[in-house]
């Protein structure tokens, strides 16, 4: 080749490669692999496919530690999304992904296209999306810039998800100053697929035609993948043009058309054109199948004139797919897309020679082995180092601080904080019910959907306490897995699998990579003990602005199965007379707690111990009690500690109801008792007639537990040693909780 390359393209030099985010070493490697200088278009391909975002260069070596297999796993990592078996003929596909950088540059479109991208990952597998969740992290909510970001991100998610027609089942909104220059916008999508209708992103069968379907290609989002692989500097906001623009209506048409096309049996393989667009799809699809691909770029539908091969290959225009179609059945595909008024253009064929060959009006502009692009990116094992700050953080003793407030005002101010206050302001902007499957709306520990045509249900959640991960990456990340599993379990569901979105700073800094390595090890450990496989995920590095790294946030998205959806459980107390029990250990800590942050602005201290075997038993016991219909409520006891958990159980349901509990103080201070946080704890309420049965069941599971009080009245009362330390009217509690978020953010 060489002679065919268009002469109008810039000359490729080392400087140009460096400007593309490649290192000198990587550029050398490309030249050696090709035995020549790459063309300009080829350089673009390598820079995108070998970016951190696409190639996981810095993370791959650690990620292989994660357990990815299990009896329910039908598809592990490596495809557009993972799939777990629901029994019968159905399976669940799900994945979480980050859209952090675009959302900071342009919050509305950044967040919207994050939703669009994750939805395509789901329906590419042949599944109909049935839920989305969003896990958001922002800086100080008192800062007007933060409020603008929150407003933009939430309305972007609302706009895209609502127009597309998928219910939002929950997620998280959290705050820390470290996110002010680098918010986190992670979106998870869940889809339902028949097991014999699963599609994969493989370009099988040389000779099969390759179809481009969906929206037209423009110049938007060129180098999005590369942008996601660099830290922010002061010019970040000038990169707005690299953020893609979403069109949820076209995405909805694309969904219906793709599912209908798949139903014809004429689709061989399909891949979403997201990050690195055509470049990624045209190399990854044949690489997975051991084939090659030849495409004619002038046939790609374009909405701008004069686009170069480079721009066409690297555009990240949204709502597009690449299809490999069974030869001879092209008409069936054309008919379906014509019905939905979408472009479907044959742009090439699958070949047997293992090359990606792109032509522009017949002239070859790129000719690269697909494996070189998709599989041969360098893998780095960069140095890691325990950060010097770790020791000081752990050495901090929260008891050294004198309590700044009495327990009652402290509880009210916690409930009134944007972190713990009701997030209704957010989720009422999201459709939560389209599809008429939502059994538990946002606002409980997990969202629950029914599976029509069966008695089954699915529970979904996203969780992470980034403060815990910062203080102890290994234990904190394991706690994120434990908490997600707990939230699924307290809803009555058995965890089936998880997807992780690993948000960290720059992996080129040894202390950040240490956080990453430790966190992945913690996730792996928790997954092994709790027997929950990782079926997919996403790594988002370079979450730094001006050298300030975020609090590391390995966000865990989890799905679980209820055999009987009717047995589902929610977090709020139901009625007077029910007895309240606390399952799990007594040990809690103020280290890394919401209390310590909200009242003392400190993120420090030692975490409560995590005993994964005990965690597993508590969750099993809880599920068994829910399955036997003994519980009227079950609520994960986490941020804010026991007092906040009890308050939420009183006021978050449709009918507020009070509670009176008496807790054994042991040696704990009132602060620890009320606000200390620790894993493996669940507050349940038991119907009076089920008390005996419940006691027996807990005995069988040999989990630590104790009765602590009864539901009733219109006050939240917490006593220890006979004296009440909290005695508040529900009105006051509810008012604080309801206004906390909205007043500051809305």
């Amino acid at each position: 080749m060489g002679a065919g390359v268009t002469s109008a393209e810039p000359k490729v030099t080392l400087d140009l490669a460096l400007a593309h985010g490649l290192t000198a070493e990587e550029y050398d490697r490309i030249i050696r692999r090709l035995s020549r200088e790459p063309t300009f278009t080829e350089l673009g391909l390598f820079s995108a496919l070998w970016s951190e975002h696409c190639a996981y260069k810095h993370s791959r070596v650690f990620l292989k530690e994660l357990p990815t297999k299990g009896p329910h796993v039908l598809q592990g990592p490596g495809e557009n999304a993972g799939i777990v078996d629901l029994g019968g003929e159905l399976a669940l596909t799900f994945k979480i992904e980050s859209h952090n950088h675009p959302s900071f540059i342009e919050p509305f479109q950044g967040a919207a296209t994050g939703i669009g991208g994750i939805l395509r990952d789901i329906f590419t597998m042949g599944a109909r999306p049935i839920a989305i969740l969003d896990s958001l992290r922002f800086g100080d909510p008192e800062d007007p810039r933060t409020r603008r970001l929150i407003g933009g991100v939430v309305s972007g998610i609302s706009w895209y998800g609502n127009c597309f027609g998928v219910p939002n089942l929950g997620g998280e909104v959290k705050f820390a100053p470290e996110y002010s220059g680098n918010p986190l916008v992670n979106a998870m999508a869940v889809g339902l697929v028949k097991k014999d209708r699963i599609f994969r992103a493989r370009a099988e069968g040389p000779g099969n035609p390759v179809f481009y379907v969906g929206a037209k290609t423009g110049r938007d989002g060129i180098h999005g993948a590369t942008m996601a692989s660099a830290t922010f500097d002061e010019g970040a906001e000038e990169r707005r043009p690299t953020v893609q623009v979403g069109d949820p209506f076209t995405e909805k048409l694309l969904l219906e058309a793709c599912l209908e096309a798949m139903g014809t049996g004429a689709v061989v393989g399909i891949q979403d054109m997201g990050a690195a667009g055509l470049a990624c799809a045209c190399s990854e699809m044949p690489a997975r199948a051991g084939t090659g691909m030849e495409v004619e770029l002038s046939r790609v539908p374009q909405r701008e004139t004069g686009m170069t091969p480079y721009e066409i290959m690297l555009s990240e225009s949204q709502e597009r797919m690449l299809l490999v179609v069974a030869k001879g059945r092209e008409e069936e595909i054309r008919r379906v897309f014509a019905k939905w008024e979408l472009d479907a253009v044959e742009i090439g064929t699958v070949t047997a020679d293992g090359m990606l060959r792109a032509r522009m009006r017949g002239q070859v502009v790129a000719e690269v082995p697909v494996k070189a692009l998709a599989d041969e990116a360098p893998v780095y094992e960069k140095p890691t180092a325990r950060p010097p700050w770790q020791d000081d953080l752990e050495a901090f003793d929260p008891h050294s601080l004198s309590p700044s407030m009495e327990p009652e005002p402290a509880l009210l101010s916690l409930l009134d904080s944007p972190a713990l206050g009701s997030k209704e302001w957010v989720y009422r902007q999201y459709d939560q019910q389209v599809g008429t499957n939502t059994l538990v709306l946002p606002g409980s520990d997990a969202g629950v959907l029914r599976i029509k045509g069966t008695r089954k249900g699915v529970a979904v959640t996203t969780d992470c306490n980034a403060r815990f991960v910062f203080l102890n990456p290994r234990v904190g990340a394991a706690m994120a897995v434990a908490e997600a599993a707990r939230n699924v379990s307290v809803s009555g569901a058995r965890p089936l699998g998880l997807t992780d979105c690993l948000n960290f700073g720059s992996p080129e800094r040894p202390e950040i990579l240490w956080q990453f390595k430790e966190a992945v090890a913690g996730i792996a450990e928790a997954c092994r003990t709790l027997e929950i496989p990782v079926v997919g995920g996403n790594v988002s590095f370079y979450n730094e602005t001006l050298g300030q790294a975020i609090l590391p946030a390995p966000v865990i998205g989890m799905v679980g199965l209820l055999d009987e959806a009717a047995a589902r459980c929610t977090q709020w107390f139901e009625g007077p007379g029910d007895r309240v029990a606390l399952l799990g250990p007594d040990t809690v800590s103020l280290g890394g707690s919401e209390y310590l942050w909200a009242l003392h602005r400190r993120v420090a201290g030692r975490l409560a111990p995590l005993d994964l075997a005990l965690e597993k038993m508590v969750q099993e016991a809880c599920r068994a009690a829910i399955g036997a219909r003994l519980l009227h409520s079950a609520h994960d006891c986490d941020e804010g500690g026991l007092s906040v958990t009890l308050a939420e159980s009183c006021i978050s349901g449709p009918r507020p109801v009070g509670v009176e509990v008496e807790v054994d103080s042991r040696d704990a201070t009132a602060e620890e008792l009320l606000f200390g946080e620790g894993p493996s704890r669940v507050v349940v309420s038991v119907a009076a007639e089920a008390e005996r049965h419940f006691e027996q069941l807990m005995g069988e599971f040999r989990v630590p537990w104790r009765w602590i009080g009864r539901v009733g009245g219109d006050r939240l009362v917490i006593r220890t040693g006979g004296a009440s330390i909290i005695n508040l009217s529900l009105d006051r509690v509810a008012q604080a909780w309801r206004s906390g978020f909205e007043q500051r953010v809305g």
Partner: protein, 237 residues
Amino acid sequence: MNFGVVVFPGTWSDCDFHYVVGEVLHQQVRYVWHRDTELGEFDCLILPGGFSYGDYLRAGAVAGRSPVVEALPEFVARGGMVLGSCNGFQILCEAKLLPGALMRNECLQYRCQSTHLLVENAETPFTRAMRTGQVLKMPISHGEGKYYADQDTMRRLREKSQVVFRYCTEDGRVTREANPNGSMDNIAGIVNEEGTVLGMMPHPERAAESAMGGTDGVQIFHSLLGSLVEDGTFLKR
């Protein structure tokens, strides 16, 4: 009874209505593509919620000029019933099958929440199984649901008892707090003069099973079924 559920590009409550009519109420139902104009077989057509054509121009504006909607006046004149919910209501207003318009919510945000509806007129084919003054619970999910009409239209709506549902509190008071979108007179649903076309912003199909949080939406269908007489025509007002 024979139902048709109209599907526009961008409709998303089609499957939900189809499910409720077919699986919950065990009535005959099939989808009607937006290009179809052969409507002879149906007793009732449903225009479901969604974002037809992305609602990029104005909510319902493009769908309001689609072949199936242009065939509706004849369908209605022939005795057919039309139920438009959410985007369906917007489309019916755009097509002038119902008076008034639906504007951006007063809060300028999308709202998905439970609402209570006061039954204002229990003498339409859609409300015959209810009592006037009864309170129903149904969710809304829209960004453009603020009902607006000029004073003359409002007066006519009142005179002819065309206002069917108004947003109210749980105990039936029509207050500003109970109005989720700033609609004039808390209007949530209206009928045409004959009572054969109902447009409403709330989603009855999402309140059709107790597992979904309520069954008040079913009363609309029960009313319709109860209004159908033996010769295949409907009892009118």
